[in-house]
């Protein structure tokens, strides 16, 4: 037996290599029936994807080259004039400004990560311990996320109205007379972090979306093996040391995917601000437009469908660039979509496999030699 292993019996080598099944012989058996099956499953999805993703993108792209109206969008070809118009636009009296909207999207993306991340992590870690009413707390935290954006927007618009509930509480209960008709969502200006209205919007967005982060983090925490934390505890690590050195690092993939979703969501933010501000006028006066609301205002309210489409194309390109950069530099560790990373991982696995095979062989040999002696 020992000689068989040492001379490299093919069966033994295969067993040692282990994990990957042999597919070479099956490849030849791909019949037309299987092909029909594959096509049958993919084509419907592909058609839907093309019809509702690629066609609208192409449509918007073509429309952005015209200065059309809603009833005849493909009249008056202007080439890239809409795009140059966006990039060379100057601030005009009382009108929304595109670069305010871009800045708002970037600020909302950064502020969402900075505010929601720590809150969600803290709450998730807290809820990960055995607590009374844990399920109830979890449910309550997730409810805002389940509410539709429109309902949330309407509720907060009512609460934050100058004659709304918040100002009533502040004046009648807390005696803050100066807040009687405070317009939380009506601070006129160019928006940005210097505007109180910006932070009011951030508060609403946090209320709405932090539940999603918490649930994601809790799911991630459930995947952290208890053995690791137990082992760390036995080694004398404190609770905080365990969280910092073991749990949070292992939560990395979850945090990274949440941050990705949060950034994309921030870039596409529309419905919540639109409802909250009751349409484009107040968004414009407070400088709180997002790229998406600016797009709708110009395209639908000002009837400049070509210009609006150009904004839509830019929004798509911005989001795509951010998504690609994020995937390339941050998410690649988790998704393994980067070919170099895959190659590296494959090489690493091959080396590990070879090492394991060697060890197995050596152990086998040692065992057999032991038996012989």
């Amino acid at each position: 037996m020992s000689t068989q292993v040492e001379t490299g019996d093919p069966r033994a080598a295969k067993t040692a290599r282990g994990s990957s099944p042999i597919v070479t012989s099956r490849k030849k058996k791909v019949t037309w029936k299987r092909r029909v099956e594959v096509i049958g499953f993919t084509v419907p999805a592909l058609i839907v994807y093309v019809a509702f993703v690629f066609v609208p993108i192409g449509y918007a792209l073509v429309m952005s080259l015209f200065d059309g109206t809603p009833i005849s969008p493909f009249t008056n070809f202007v080439g890239f004039e809409n795009f140059t118009g966006i990039f060379t636009a100057e601030r005009q009296f009382g009108q929304p400004f595109f670069w305010d909207a871009v800045r708002n999207n970037l600020l909302i993306a950064v502020a969402s990560l900075a505010i929601q991340g720590p809150i969600a992590l803290g709450v998730a870690l807290m809820l990960n311990r055995r607590l009374r009413f844990r399920r109830l707390i979890r449910l309550l935290i997730f409810v805002p996320y389940v509410l539709s954006e429109v309902i949330t927007g309407v509720i907060f618009a009512q609460i934050l109205n100058p004659n709304g509930a918040l100002n009533y509480v502040l004046t009648e209960w807390l005696g803050l007379e100066g807040m009687r008709f405070f317009a939380w969502l009506g601070q006129v200006g160019d928006g940005g972090i210097g505007s109180a209205t910006f932070w009011v919007v951030m508060a609403v967005l946090t209320w709405k979306y932090v539940g999603m982060a918490i649930i994601l983090f809790m799911a991630g925490l459930a995947g952290v093996p208890e053995e690791l934390t137990e082992a760390a505890a036995i080694d004398g690590a404190s609770y905080w040391q365990i969280q910092r050195k073991v749990t949070v690092p292992l939560l990395g993939p979850t945090i990274r995917i949440w941050a990705f979703l949060s950034i994309i969501g921030s870039f596409q933010l529309f419905d919540m601000v639109w409802i909250l501000f009751g349409g484009h006028t107040l968004l414009g006066q407070t400088g709180m437009h997002t790229m998406a609301s600016y797009m709708v205002t110009m395209g639908m309210n000002r009837n400049m469908v070509g210009y609006g489409s150009a904004v839509a194309v830019l929004l798509f390109v911005f989001t795509l660039i951010v998504a690609l950069i994020y995937q390339k530099f941050i998410l690649s560790r988790d998704l393994g979509s980067d070919s170099r990373a895959i190659r590296k991982a494959d090489q690493k696995k091959a080396r590990a496999d070879a090492k394991a095979a060697k060890i197995a062989a050596r152990e086998l040999t040692a065992a057999e030699t032991g038996q012989e002696t």
Binding site: Y49, V50, F54, F93, Q95, A157, G186, T281, L282
Partner: protein, 465 residues
């Protein structure tokens, strides 16, 4: 991996292209095969109105008329259906297919898409002004002056905002002037006489200050949507400018008359003359116009504010909010303490006889069968308009004015409408969205204390391009 993706992308793009081509093909087919079109001779042949003499039902090919309106709520929904049924009973060769679609959806999404796709309805809601001018420029609307001239003549001047170069391309079935809706209880508790509303600007200022001194918000303004703020400046312009200057702006996009800058200066005068420069409810910019008790309409009907400058529909809005706040059935009539008075003249202005407002109308598609125009004539006939007025609406057919219920709050705006020398459509509607939206933005900023009267005019001229 990369090559696979690229190949996939090419396949996807090819499929997209195929679908685009197929989509265009469908449009073409749809465009080539619309509802039966009348031959040219019948289209220009004026046929008698159905209510006057029933047209002979024999010898006419079966025809389908599609009708899209915004009357999604009762009682209007059933009313229009009943009118269509009557029309079909009198014209058995006609089938009328009705779609009721919510106003903004119909206006901003459904109709433009239908016009693009070549499957537009035959008879559809029409708001007049700049929007109708765009439709006319695209050749989408029928010249009704050729088809139903008697009806066009009978509706008269109130239909001007639906006319282009003297020809009617739509006709309003209701038109209401804007004015001050007043909560007379608040008015009287400030020591004012609700049988004697202000007739001049000075009297208005006096009342304004008296109400503020009594601790109420004198005038509620819902600035969140922009247009209610716009209405203030519009009124200043309509009372400052002559009808010729107003028409030059609507028809030729000419705002060179000095009255337009003067309108802003007069507006500024109004804002600074009252209540120490705090004319409206505090936080008006973030107050909605008519959604719920915290809106401007809500403030008036719940007694927090005394009045609001608004269109005639406001009484219905306020009634709804009042019923909701007091747990009354939704069909309860608006409370009797609401009253109305028109915007006073501005001393030295050129628009004393002018009035502003808006209405709802219908237009007929160019390719529609002549029966669609006949249905519109029926809608505007004495019999139908009288029943419409009896439901406490302001009709456009003068023979139906007397059918508004006695004691209705709508009788006051109607009287103002009858006395007006010139009726201007809301300026944003008259100029269309491309100009109207930036105009409202500039006015909102101006009334909020920024910029100059010239800035507003510049914003309008810039937007007009």
């Amino acid at each position: 991996m990369k090559t696979k993706l690229r190949a996939g992308g090419i396949v996807a793009m090819a499929a997209a292209l195929a679908l685009v081509v197929a989509g265009c093909g469908d449009d073409d087919n749809g465009g080539a095969d619309p509802t039966p079109t009348p031959d040219e001779t019948t289209a220009v042949d004026p046929t008698p109105e159905p209510d006057e003499t029933d047209p002979p039902a024999v010898d006419r090919d079966p025809v389908t008329v599609t009708w899209w309106h915004n009357g999604v709520g009762e009682p209007l929904y059933s009313f229009w259906q009943g009118i269509a049924d009557e029309f079909v009973a009198a014209n058995p060769h006609v089938t009328v297919n009705i779609e009721a679609i919510q106003n903004e959806t119909l206006r901003n999404d459904v109709l433009p898409t239908a016009f693009q796709g070549g499957n537009a309805p035959d008879l559809f809601q029409s708001w007049g002004g700049g929007e109708l001018a765009d439709w006319h420029a695209e050749g989408l609307v029928m010249n009704l002056s050729n088809v139903i001239p008697d009806t066009v003549a009978h509706i008269g001047a109130v239909g001007n905002s639906w006319a282009i170069d003297g020809a009617a391309y739509g006709l309003p079935f209701t038109f209401g002037p804007s004015g001050f809706w007043v909560n007379t209880e608040v008015w009287e508790s400030a020591g004012l006489d609700s049988n004697n509303f202000p007739a001049t600007l000075d009297e208005l200022f006096e009342a304004w200050n008296a109400i503020a001194d009594a601790g109420y918000a004198p005038v509620a303004l819902g600035g969140q949507s922009g247009w209610p703020v716009g209405h203030w400046w519009y009124w200043s312009a309509v009372k400052t400018c002559s009808s010729a200057a107003l028409l030059a702006a609507s028809n030729n996009h000419d705002w060179s008359d000095p009255c337009w800058v003067q309108a802003g200066e007069n507006m500024d005068g109004i804002l600074t003359s009252v209540n120490g420069g705090v004319p409206f409810n505090q936080g008006w910019l973030a107050t909605s116009a008519q959604e719920g008790a915290t809106s401007a309409s809500g403030l008036v009907v719940t007694g927090m504010a005394a009045m609001q400058l608004m269109g005639v529909w406001d009484i219905g809005v306020m009634g709804g909010i009042y019923n909701e706040a007091n747990d009354l059935p939704s069909d309860t009539l608006p409370p009797a303490f609401l009253s109305w008075f028109p915007f006073p003249n501005i001393p030295g202005g050129g628009g004393d006889a002018n009035l502003m407002g808006g209405g709802d109308g219908f237009s007929v598609h160019t390719d529609a069968p002549v029966e669609a125009a006949e249905l519109l004539a029926f809608i505007l006939s004495d019999s139908v308009q009288q029943r419409y007025a009896a439901m406490d609406n302001i009709p456009t057919n003068p023979n139906a004015f007397g059918s508004i219920p006695a004691g209705s709050a709508n009788l006051l705006p109607l009287a103002a409408l009858e006395n007006a020398g010139f009726v201007q459509l809301w300026l944003d509607a008259a100029y269309g969205g491309q100009i109207g939206t930036p105009m409202n933005n500039a006015i909102t900023a101006f009334i909020g204390g920024q910029g100059t009267p010239q800035d507003v005019v510049d914003a309008i001229v810039n937007a007009a391009g």
